[in-house]
Amino acid sequence: MRLWGRGAAVASALFRLAFRFFPRGHRELTEAEAVEAFKLGYRRRRTESGLACAWRYAGRSVVDAVAAGWRTRRRHRARTRQPPVARNPETGLLTDLGGDVRYAFRRMGRAPAFTAAVVLILALGVGVNAAVFSALKTALLEPPPYPSERLVFPSLTVQRSGTERSNWSYLDFRDFRQATGEAFDAIAGYASRSASWTAPGETAYVPYELVTPGYLELLGAVPAVGRFFVPEEEGATSSPAVAVLSHDTWQSRFGGDPSVVGRSITVDGVRVQVVGVAGAGFRGLTGEAAFWVPVGHARATLGSWAMGSRTSHWLHAVARLAPGVAAEGARARVAAVGRAIALADGPLEAGERLVVRVAPFREVWTNPATRTSIWLLAAAAGLVLLIAITNLASLLLARGRRESRETAVRLALGAGRARLLRQRLVESLVLALLAGAGGLLMAAWAAGGIRALWPDRLTAGAGADVRWIDPATLSVDLQVVGVGFAIATLAALVFALLPAALQDGGRLMTTLKRGPGTLGESGRRGTGRSWLLGGQLAFSVVLLVAAGLLGGTLLRLHGEQKGFDHEGLLVVGYTFAGRPANASAPALAAAHDAFRHRVEALPGARSVALGTSAPLSGHPVRTRVSGVVGGRAFGEEAQPEIGVHSVSDGYFTTLGIDLVRGRTFTEEEFRRAGPIAVINRAAARVLFSGEDPLGRRFRMGFSVEEGNPPWTVVGVVDDVLYSTPVEGVMPEAYVPYGVWPGQAYANLFVRAPDPAALLPGVREAMRAVDPDVPFWRTMTGAELRRRGVADTRVLAFVLALFAGLAVLLSAAGVWAVVAQAVAERRREIGLRMALGAEAVEVEGLMVRRGSLPLVVGGATGLAIAAVGSRYLTRLLFRTDAHDPLIFAGAAGVVTATWLLASWLPARAAARVDPIEALSSE
C-alpha cells in the first residue's frame, strides 16, 4: 500500500511539473482540479488494471499536459502580442514608437544569445576604448594647469658622439637671458630636486623646484597669500633665504593658515622663510613641487660651485615668446646668442657640435617614450574596437540574411518599407543603448585596472625634470565614452539597416521562392563575411606581434636584472644634508657608521652596506673616461661614459654582485681615499678591450677634479643595471666610500630573510642617530626590481590582454561564420554524406572553405606588423622589432585559433544524418 501511495505521489508530481507548461493564469485556475482528476484516474487504473496500465496513463497524461500547455501558451501569446506591422500596417512614421520599442525587446528576447553576443561585443569594444583613451587624454591631451601657448624650452647643447646635455649652467643661463631679452616676454630657469623638509608636521622627503624669480609669474601662477620672489632674491646670498609654498602644502602642513608668511621651514638643513603661497592647483612644470626656492639655494644643496660654474649644467630654461615673434625668429636669435655663449670659453673641439633648440611646449609636455606607449595602447584599443565592429557587422548581416524571408513575407503582405526600416533602427538603438551601458561599466572597470597596474607615478615629461602624472587622476572620461559609443552605434545602425534596405521589391519573389538552406546560397554575402573575418585576423596578428615584442622586452629586462640578488634585500635611502652630522667630514662618516652599525645589530640582519646608488634607480654620478694609462687614449669625441659609485665594505656581498676577477677593497682601503676602483665587466670590455684589467690604471675626469691621479683597477664584478633598462648596462666604477668623505647622501642595503619586517628596526636605528632624517626611499629588492620594469610590464600586460581579446573575438567570429555556413549547407552536406563522403572529407571541406581569407588576412597582418613595429623600437629592449620567432608565433596562434574555431562546427556538420538533412526544408 505504501508503495502504491508513493507511485501515485511520483506520478502526480510529474503531472504537476508538466502542468507548469500552461500559462500562469490558466494554471492558477485549474491546476488543483486537474491534478485531482489525474490522481483519481491513476488510482482507478492502478486498482482495476495494474501498475503498467496506471503508468501508461500517467505517461500519456504528462505528454498531453505539456502539449496542451504549449498550445495554450502559444494561443495566449498570439492573442496578446502581434508585431505592430501586422496589427496596423498603415500607422504613420512618427506614431507607435512605444510599440516599436516593445517589438524590439521582444525580438531580442526571442534571440537571447544573439542579443547577449551583440551587447557584450559592443560593450567590450566601447569599454576598452573608453578606458584607454581616457588615459591618453589625461597623459597627452589634457591642457596643463597654466597657460602654455607660446611657451618654449630653449636649450643649448654641445653634442659629442651622440650624447647631449641640454641643461644650462647658471652662468650661461644668465648670459642667455640678458642677450635674448627682446625675443621673449620672459625667461626663467628651473630645476627639480627633492629635499628633506622640516616644518610643522613630520620631517619628510619632498620634491621641490629651484627657480629664478619670474618663473611662477611666467607660468601664470598668482599668489594666494603673500608674494612671489623678487629679482634680488635670485642669488640668495642675502639672508634669510625665502620660499613660496604650493597651495597643497599650505593646506596640508599649515592648515591653510594665512599667517604662514614669515614663518620658517628647514629645507635640507637650511632655514628658509615663507614669503607666499601659490594659487590652488599649481604645482610647477614638474607637476609635483611642494614649494619653490630661488636658484641660489643650490649653493646649499648642490654645492658652492653650482652658481659660479659654466661646466655644471643643472638648470632648464623655459620662456614665453614675445608677441609678434615667431618660433623661427626666436630660434635664430637663440642660435646666435647660444653660439656666442658656447664659444666664449674657446672654440669647439673636433667632433663637437653645437645644437641650439627651441622646443615647443607640446614636445616637452609629454616625452616620446610615453607618447609612443600611449599611442600604442590607443592603437591596440582601436584595433579591438575594429574587430568588435567587424564581428558585429558579421552577426547583424548574418541575421539580416536569415530574416530575408520574413522581411520578404512582410513586404509582400503590405508592410511599408519605411516602417520595416524604422523597426530595425529602433532595435539597433535599443541594442546600442544596452551596449553603451555595458561599455560604461566595462570602462570604469578597465580604468580601475589601469590604475592598479600603473607604477606609483607615470613619467610623462621629457627627461626627469618635466612633469609627472599621478595615475590616481586617471578616470573614465564621459566624452570619450560618448565617442566610442557613437562609433559603435553608427556601426550597429549601418549593418542592421543594410540588409533590410538592400532588399528590393523586384527580388521579393526570388527570396520567397528560395527556401532556406538551398544549394549554392552561400554566395556573395557569405564571402563578404569571410573577408570581414580576414580583416579581424589581420588585426589580431598585429596585436599579437605587438604583445609579443613587449613580452620579449619584458623577459629580457628581467633577465637583465640578474646582476644583483633582489630576494631578501631591503634598500633605504637617506641623506644627512643640512643635519648637524654634516658639519664636518669625520662627523658625517661617524653618523653613517653609527647608523650602519645599529642596523647590523638588528636581529635578522645578515649583512649591511652603504652605497651612493641602488640598482635600477639611476646614476647619481656619471663621468667620462679620458684614457687608460699605457693603453688606449680616447679622443674627445669617443670618451666612454662611466657611472661612479662610492660604496662601503660589504656592498658586493650584500647586494649579491658576483666578483669575477681580482678582489674587492680591503677593510682599510674603504676608509682611505686611495685611487683604486673595482669595475664591472662592461667597463673591462670597453676600457681594456678584453685584456686583463687588473692592476691597470685609467683616468676619469670630473669637471671639478681635474688633475686627479689615475685609478687602479683591483677587481672586476658582474654587470648590474643601474639606469633605465632601455639604456642598458653601462661601464661602472666602484670606489671606496672614503674617497669622497663629504658624501651626505647614501643608500643603506640590508640582506635579511624577511626584509620588510626589518624596516621598523631600521627606522628606530636612524632615529637614534638623528631623529630628523627622513628616508626618501624604502623598498625591498623585489620592489626595486618591479619598479625598474613597471612601464614595460604594464604595457606588455595590457597589450597581451588586448591581443587575447582580439583572438577570442575573431575566434568567435570564425566559429559563427562556419557554424552558419554549416547550417546553410546542411542539405548539401547531407547529399554528400548520402553519396558516400567520409566525415573527414566534410570536415575538411568546411574548414577549407575559409582558408583563403585566413591566408590573406594573416599575411596582411604580418605585413602591417612588420611596417608598424619599427615605431615601437624605442619601447623595445634587446628585442628585434622584426623578431621572426614572434612573428611566426603570432601567425601560429591565429592559424591554430582559426582551425579550432572552424573545426568545431565542421565536426558537427559531419555528424549530420543524411536522411534528416535531406528531408529538412
Binding site: T30, E33, R60, A67, A68
Partner: protein
C-alpha cells in the same frame, strides 16, 4: 469587432475533444472529473479524456460559447478542491448536432467507398 450570432457551422469540423466533452455532458451539469468519468463510462473505457488538456479544452469551449460555467447541482458533496461545474449551451448542443450530422454524412460516404466500420479489418461479415 461586432460578433453577429455565431452559427453552428462556423465551428465545424469540431475538434474531437470538444465533441467528446459535449457528448459526455449531454444535458447534465458536471465538473471536469465528472466529464472524464461519464465519457469513459459511455465508451466502456475504450476512449478517455486526459486531465491536462481537458481543462484547457473546457476553458476554450467556455470562451467560444459552447459551454457555460454552472453552479453545483443540489446535493453535491464538497470534498477535495473546489470544483467548477459546466453545462452545454444551446449553441454547444447544436454544434454537437451539426458535427454528428457531418460525421454521419462522412460515414455514409465511407460506406459507399467500402470503408465503413462493418468492413473494418477483423470484422466478421
Amino acid at each position: 469587432m461586432s460578433e453577429s450570432a455565431p452559427r453552428p457551422e462556423d465551428h465545424l469540423p469540431l475538434p474531437p475533444q470538444f465533441y467528446h466533452v459535449l457528448l459526455a455532458l449531454g444535458e447534465e451539469r458536471l465538473h471536469g472529473y465528472g466529464i472524464i468519468q461519464a465519457f469513459e463510462a459511455m465508451t466502456e473505457g475504450r476512449e478517455t479524456l486526459l486531465p491536462g488538456s481537458l481543462y484547457a479544452t473546457l476553458a476554450r469551449m467556455v470562451e467560444l460559447g459552447l459551454l457555460e460555467p454552472a453552479g453545483p447541482p443540489r446535493g453535491a458533496t464538497s470534498g477535495g478542491p473546489k470544483r467548477r461545474y459546466y453545462r452545454s449551451t444551446v449553441l454547444g448542443r447544436s454544434v454537437a448536432r451539426a458535427e454528428s450530422a457531418r460525421m454521419e454524412r462522412l460515414l455514409r460516404l465511407a460506406r459507399s467507398r467500402r470503408m465503413g466500420p462493418d468492413l473494418a479489418p477483423g470484422a466478421t461479415s
